[in-house]
Symmetry: C2
Subunit: 386 residues, 2 copies
């Protein structure tokens, strides 16, 4: 019986994971569930899965849950509670908390689990070296849930992920649909509504990642993830526009042979892969060949998505730049979602913050927090001047 | 230094292999070259690669070669000479003799080499069980050169090829361009010229395989090859029409994840894979992403290529049927190439031979020879009655 902790159980990744585990009670035990504030969803999950441990990020909301479940589970709450919850021993932990808040529980939990199924992108983008060093030290395997990185893992397997020779790999290609605004001209982008940006053609995801898909910041982050997961050089990691979102990544070897991993755009597939690996979840729900299919690919052009280029430039510095960019991006997206700024303002502000960002090495969790805070502060100042 | 024997060195596979080995004299020694009757090409190869052993299938032609190279190499000739040549100890043997004549040297050579790079299709189609049993017995690895099977091997690796569990594989898909006559209507097929059939849109190959590509007999044979190479059930092996010939095969797992192997349609890639494995031949010549690409796939329909269905029906019997079909096909193709019969006559005759073929198990090389002869005889009788 594999004991599973789910961090971020009420989000879309968490809910999908529970949908998969529902019929697997003979092989998986849901040991703990953790959510930030959606107590009614959490209550429903607790009733169904009867975990021993529950964690509520928002302290005020914890009381509400306690009233409903009493002592049927140990309830942790607030930042200290989350740290305690992260120290529970498990076989697999699904890390699906969104944003930088995932980094601390991840760094703690790496010491107490055998496998991290990692859905959070920000932790690798901001602290990739730290995360993989800890994982190596504690012999914890990290399996990527993010579909592109998961696709690469399916092709390359643990071998490459565990720092084996990547000498025979010429390039890897991450695919990008181009997001909801593919084909928009610059002058159209300026006036684009929040609703339009949130209407991703192929994937149903959280709001931030959907907006990051429209600016291609998300793809830039995935390039950085790829570097850390597979120990590749930035020059080897390329992006191709593939509007159908069927192929998620490709690996091109030195002889010109190329392997692609494709599946219908549904997160249940990479989630199940990370949970069941090396087995496969048997499901007839998905097949790419249910109908005729067409897959088109073209190289991404320089300056086609200016913020993608900004991310890559920051990533190559391998210092505090991605921490700053990530935090700034989160703040401007919040402001865009609240309709306080326009779509292209996000780009303007991110570029301005990155221009004025002092360079500094990031070695510890505290360093990450420092530059994350610095960036949020500077971005808010910059927003006030708009 | 790896010692290499090349069976069929003057054919297109053999020539391509030598092109690859030309610059690899530090790691590969061309130990022996074998051709059927193209002595002038063989002489050129001998002069360049200076093999210790040479074999000429056609005894009369052997004298010609002897006059030109004298005692610079040991020359074998005729069927007995080929058997002797096949007993030479090597590290890798490329089996690129075309047709059923490859089976005997293959069965002999399996005992004397560490690796067979197998380009010949007929030997697996007619005697798959025998070939893989011998390979297992002598611990000889067989690497497929045929592009679709090679693509599957690139995805599945030795694990599956060596009879490991295939439980997590839902289906494999072989791609078919549809051949030179894709889109032709039945009444157009009746009058089609030899030239048209030989004009394959994507691949430059020998005449027989090009015609087998137009009828899709070739794809049926590959389905049988796939069964023997990867120990899959016929129900798991599917064919999709993919006119671009970039993707050669795909593997769909139980969770719906699918892996594809793609490369430009040039046999140098699968040949180099089979020779250099597990290393990769470093060449910037090939890349699928040199330009925008489009890949389209649609399932093959029943009766779309009637001869494909005939091959599958024969293959599923797992008896003498594929031996008979293979020989009959070779004879009718010769007759079509000589313009003695029309395109659709091939189908008519193959169907008639298969209808009247008595069932018999094939256990030994002699059994294969018997049914091969039987089929050639019956096909010639049938042709005479046309």
């Amino acid at each position: 019986m594999k004991k599973v902790l789910i961090f971020g159980s009420t989000g879309s990744i968490g809910e999908n994971a529970l949908r998969l585990l529902r019929k697997q009670s003979k092989t998986f035990e849901v040991l703990g569930l953790c959510a930030n504030r959606n107590v009614s969803a959490l209550y429903r999950q607790v009733k169904e899965f009867r975990p021993k441990y529950v964690c509520v990020g928002d302290e005020k909301k914890a009381g509400e849950l306690y009233k409903r479940i009493g002592k049927k589970a140990v309830i942790f709450s607030g930042p200290a509670g989350l740290r305690e919850f992260s120290s529970i021993k498990s076989d697999i932990s699904l890390m699906a908390i969104s944003g930088i808040c995932c980094l601390e529980p991840l760094l703690i939990n790496i010491k107490h689990t055998s496998r991290i199924a990692l859905a959070n992108k920000e932790s690798v983008v901001t602290a990739g070296n730290m995360v993989f060093k800890e994982a190596f030290k504690h012999n914890t395997e990290i399996l990527p849930v993010d579909s592109e990185i998961n696709a690469l893992f399916q092709i390359l397997g643990h071998g490459k992920a565990a720092n084996e020779s990547t000498a025979d790999i010429r390039s890897v290609y991450l695919t990008a649909s181009g997001g909801a605004l593919a084909g928009y001209r610059r002058n159209q982008l300026d006036k684009v509504s929040v609703g339009k940006v949130l209407a991703h053609p192929n994937w149903r995801m959280g709001k931030r990642i959907t907006i990051d898909s429209a600016t291609l910041i998300n793809k830039g982050f995935e390039v950085a993830e790829t570097r850390y997961f597979f120990n590749l050089e930035y020059e080897q990691i390329k992006v191709v526009i593939h509007k159908e979102s069927l192929v998620h990544a490709l690996v091109e070897y030195e002889d010109g042979s190329t392997q692609a991993c494709l599946y219908p755009p549904d997160m249940k597939i990479p989630i199940s892969f990370a949970l069941f690996y090396p087995e496969r979840f048997k499901s007839s729900e998905f097949s790419v060949f249910k109908k005729e299919i067409s897959c088109n690919f073209r190289p991404l052009k320089t300056n086609e998505y200016p913020l993608f280029d900004v991310v890559i430039e920051a990533a190559k510095k391998e210092d505090n730049a991605l921490v700053v960019l990530n935090a700034c991006d989160e703040v401007v997206i919040d402001n865009f979602l609240e309709k306080k700024i326009k779509f292209l303002d996000m780009e303007k502000i991110i570029k301005s913050i990155m221009r004025n960002c002092p360079r500094s090495r990031v070695k510890t969790f505290k360093d990450v927090l420092y530059w994350d805070n610095w960036s949020r502060l500077k971005t808010k100042e910059r927003l006030d001047r708009l």
